[in-house]
């Protein structure tokens, strides 16, 4: 600072006349002026947007609603040369095919089973996602065990008919497993009871699951090649979430593990899967899985993309969960350890409940991505919603110029409702969690 510089000063000596009050500080007109026409640039922008809306929205509304064909039994309704209208969406086509879009070719007399599946799925989703739902721990058991088993039996018909040899093998396996637990307990000189309980519990859960799948409930078998439409779309998404969450947690823990080889294996898997497009994973599952299995053993055609999407989603889920684990303050880990908890106890009782809670928005966002990605199974020939629409597009009974656009509009609407709903939910949870963090 140079002290010799004379800084010019200005001191007002006279009262300035008050400005007139703003003539419109409130009300819609003021709001419009403030928000839309506050300057020349803004005015031009607003007018440009209005013009854009003018050229896009009215034709869209006209196409989707006003000129749309709502009723009809075949293509005549949507063809100008047959007396129909070609200028609007052909919703009659969707109405005619809606059962195909929902169930695919699922045996008609058995479709009530699919409806129950939808209901069970809705129940599980609400139970898990509604933060105030009672007994959400039971909800997790329901969603990750009871529901998958029930869904499998309902959709395929159960009655897997393993045969005596299989059960003999399982009995030996179960006995060996319990013996292994007992042996470990004996070696470690810990009490025998919990070890036997855990071992017996694992065997019991697997045994009950297999028995249920084996049991003949008198439901007709419906081969997976008949499944299709929204059923398959929801199925792929559900399997994706049911598998990817536990598997993603394991991978995330592996990546944060202190054991170098465990960490390396997790990192390689996660980065590999995240570095390649889903479609290549699906094609790999489709063409290479049969090669890796022994001899005549085959994998169901629907199961292959299910495995592919589940693995794919697991890698992304792992990164979300890892974010949650990293966000946990170190004190939590140290506190848990100072209480004498071992690693599984620390993770399952202290860290994961908190970490998973803060990453619910991330999990839901991953799930939105997974839900959209389910449409890719259409490329490997699975009849999901997109594929059923593609297949119906070339039905000669409905050959009309607007069929394609109408079908895609329907698919877009379906996906939009689900994804938008989920993203709103995730925003809501985020806000609630943020509210808890505010001081």
């Amino acid at each position: 600072m140079n002290a010799t510089v004379d800084i010019p000063r200005f001191v007002r000596a006279k009262q300035v006349e008050a400005l007139p009050p703003p003539n419109l500080a409130r009300g819609p007109i003021a709001w419009i002026r403030e928000n839309l026409f506050s300057g020349p640039f803004n005015t031009i922008l607003t007018l440009a947007v209005f013009y854009l809306l003018y050229v896009s929205v009215p034709p869209l509304v006209k196409f989707l609603f006003i000129d749309a064909v709502w009723t009809g039994t075949d293509r005549a309704a949507c063809r100008a040369d047959a007396g129909g209208s070609e200028s609007g969406a052909c919703w009659a086509f969707i109405r005619d095919k809606i059962n195909y879009f929902v169930y695919g070719s699922y045996t008609i007399s058995e479709r009530w089973r699919v409806n129950i599946f939808f209901a069970l799925l809705a129940l599980g989703v609400v139970w898990l996602l509604w933060l105030k739902a009672p007994r959400r721990d039971l909800g997790a058991v329901y969603f990750f065990w009871v529901f998958p088993v029930a869904a499998y039996i309902l959709l395929t018909g159960g009655n897997a008919d393993f045969g005596g040899r299989f059960w003999l093998g399982f009995a030996i396996f179960g006995a060996l497993l319990i013996a292994l637990f007992a042996f470990v307990a004996a070696v470690l000189k810990t009490s025998m009871r919990p070890a036997l309980l855990v071992g017996g519990g694992i065997v019991a859960v697997i045994g009950i699951t297999l028995a249920l799948v084996d049991f003949d409930f008198g439901l007709a078998h419906v081969p997976t090649s008949l499944w299709g439409g929204i059923l398959v779309t929801l199925l792929v998404a559900t399997v994706g979430i049911v598998v990817s969450l536990p598997f993603g947690i394991v991978l995330a823990l592996g990546r944060r593990s202190k054991l170098p080889l465990v960490r390396l294996a997790s990192v390689v898997f996660i980065e590999f899967v995240r570095g390649v497009p889903l479609i290549t994973v699906l094609i790999m599952a489709n063409t290479m899985l049969p090669l890796f299995l022994p001899g005549d053993m085959t994998v169901d055609r629907l199961l292959r993309p299910l495995i592919g999407t589940a693995l794919f989603a697991s890698a992304y889920m792992a990164e979300v969960v890892r974010g949650g684990l990293q966000a946990m303050p170190k004190g939590q880990y140290e506190g848990a350890m100072s209480l004498g908890l071992n690693y599984p106890q620390m993770m399952s009782l202290i860290i994961l409940p908190q970490a998973l809670r803060i990453v619910i928005p991330g999990i839901v966002n991953t799930f939105i991505g997974l839900f959209k990605d389910t449409s890719l199974v259409a490329i490997v020939g699975i009849f999901d919603l997109v594929k059923t629409i593609e297949a119906s597009r070339i039905d000669p009974n409905w050959a009309a110029p607007t069929i394609g656009i109408t079908g895609y509009a329907f698919a877009a609407l379906f996906y939009f409702i689900f994804c938008f709903g989920m993203s709103r939910y995730s925003l809501g949870v985020e806000r609630r969690l943020a509210a808890g963090q505010k001081r």
Partner: protein, 400 residues
């Protein structure tokens, strides 16, 4: 000390309780399991391949392909091209659609992201609707839509839309004049190089001048003159002098379609449109988050310095927001590249369509083809992350 030490000396316990021993045990089990899994898979694969009499190894890459591809950036023909050439063609097609897509989606994404924060209510709302709609509909559905929309909107070749200057548009694509370079075209390239170097030097000089004296020099106009004006002027002069460094092959009407010239496929356009509009919605969110991360004080300080809103955005907010934006932006670029594999649904000959589609089918060598294709995407991902990490380190704030 000694007494305390003897008191707290660890009780004799089984070595099984040693965390190190346990750690080694777990790792051995994991490695054994992985090795076992790979061993089973590999032996099965070998047995299955032998049973199915499928050849293995990468020798097939030099076999004659025998099929044609619609868009080839390098010379390729059914007669002369090998599977390896087909791979190259597919790879280049993937790269070109990704590269062009990244440029356009960045522009669109930034515009929409900034628009979402606009004080103009209409602009902000329209941008929000755009983001919500595009983000929540699967890209595959959008691509299929764009493909029939593009095909449906375009006229048949016989009624091609003539747009002047050798541009034609029809359902076979966009046709334009193809430049044919004569032997003296190097002059133009040299002049262009001179222009580029000159611009670079001038910009550095201008910046230095501004830092030292505060005077601003017209950077944009000079750049334009040097990069564009200079070559054009040279061209005109050369043409006047009688030489013709560049001539154009115009598309002509053939029996079915226009022949000659350059052609941009409708599949390419549909794929590009789909990728750009879809990814832009995600980039817009990234940009919005980045801008919001810049504290309000920065904007206020910039306004109080007398910068216009445009200048504030360009000189103060965006440079700081870039730190937050770059990492997620990188993953969006990678997503776009990976999503370009959806080309297979609309028949654009990208890597997956050509190599994992046709070549896999013709040769039956699933393992080799899948490994190569995945390797390519993996390499692209890793290299991009690596480069972006370097850039990220450069723009990161240097803290004391």
């Amino acid at each position: 000390m000694q007494t305390i030490a003897s008191q707290t000396s660890p009780p004799k316990k089984s070595f099984l309780y040693d965390p190190k021993v346990r750690g080694i045990f777990y790792q051995v089990v994991l490695v054994a399991a992985i090795v076992f899994l790979f061993y089973v898979a590999a032996t099965n694969a070998i047995e299955n391949l032998q049973r199915a009499k499928i050849a293995s190894g990468f020798g097939f890459l030099s076999n004659t392909a025998g099929f044609d591809i619609s868009q080839t950036l390098v010379q390729f023909s059914a007669a002369g091209g090998s599977y390896g050439d087909a791979f190259l063609v597919g790879l280049l097609n993937t790269l070109i659609v990704s590269a062009i897509g990244i440029v356009f989606t960045t522009i669109l994404g930034f515009l929409i992201g900034i628009a979402r924060l606009s004080r103009n209510w209409m602009v902000a709302k329209v941008a929000m609707v755009y983001v919500e709609v595009l983000r929540n509909i699967p890209l595959l559905v959008q691509l299929l839509f764009w493909y029939i929309a593009v095909l449906g909107a375009l006229p048949q070749p016989r009624n091609s839309l003539e747009m002047g200057a050798g541009f034609y548009l029809n359902s076979r694509g966009l046709f334009m004049a193809r430049p044919i370079y004569a032997s003296d075209a190097w002059v133009l390239i040299a002049v262009l190089a001179v222009g580029l170097v000159g611009t670079f030097v001038y910009r550095r000089w201008a910046r230095k001048q501004q830092e030292q004296t505060g005077r601003q020099y017209p950077v944009g106009k000079v750049t334009l003159a040097l990069v564009l004006g200079l070559p054009v002027l040279t061209w005109v002069l050369l043409a006047l002098a009688g030489a013709n460094p560049v001539s154009f092959e115009l598309p002509r009407k053939g029996t079915f379609n226009l022949t000659g010239g350059m052609q941009i496929l409708p599949e390419f356009v549909a794929l590009l449109l789909g990728l750009v509009t879809y990814t832009a919605a995600f980039i817009a969110e990234v940009v919005r988050a980045g801008i919001l991360a810049v504290s309000k004080g920065q904007t206020e300080a910039a306004s109080s310095l007398g910068l216009t809103p445009g200048q504030t955005l360009r000189l103060v907010v965006i440079p700081q927001a870039m730190r937050v934006i770059i990492p997620p932006l990188t993953s969006q670029y990678l997503n776009l590249t990976k999503n370009s594999s959806l080309a297979v649904a609309i028949g654009y000959p990208d890597l997956v369509q050509v190599f994992m589609g046709t070549v896999l089918n013709q040769t039956g060598q699933a393992i080799e083809v899948v490994v190569i294709t995945m390797g390519v995407y993996l390499t692209i991902s890793l290299v991009t992350s690596f480069v972006m990490n370097i850039y990220n380190r450069r723009v990161a704030i240097v803290e004391r």
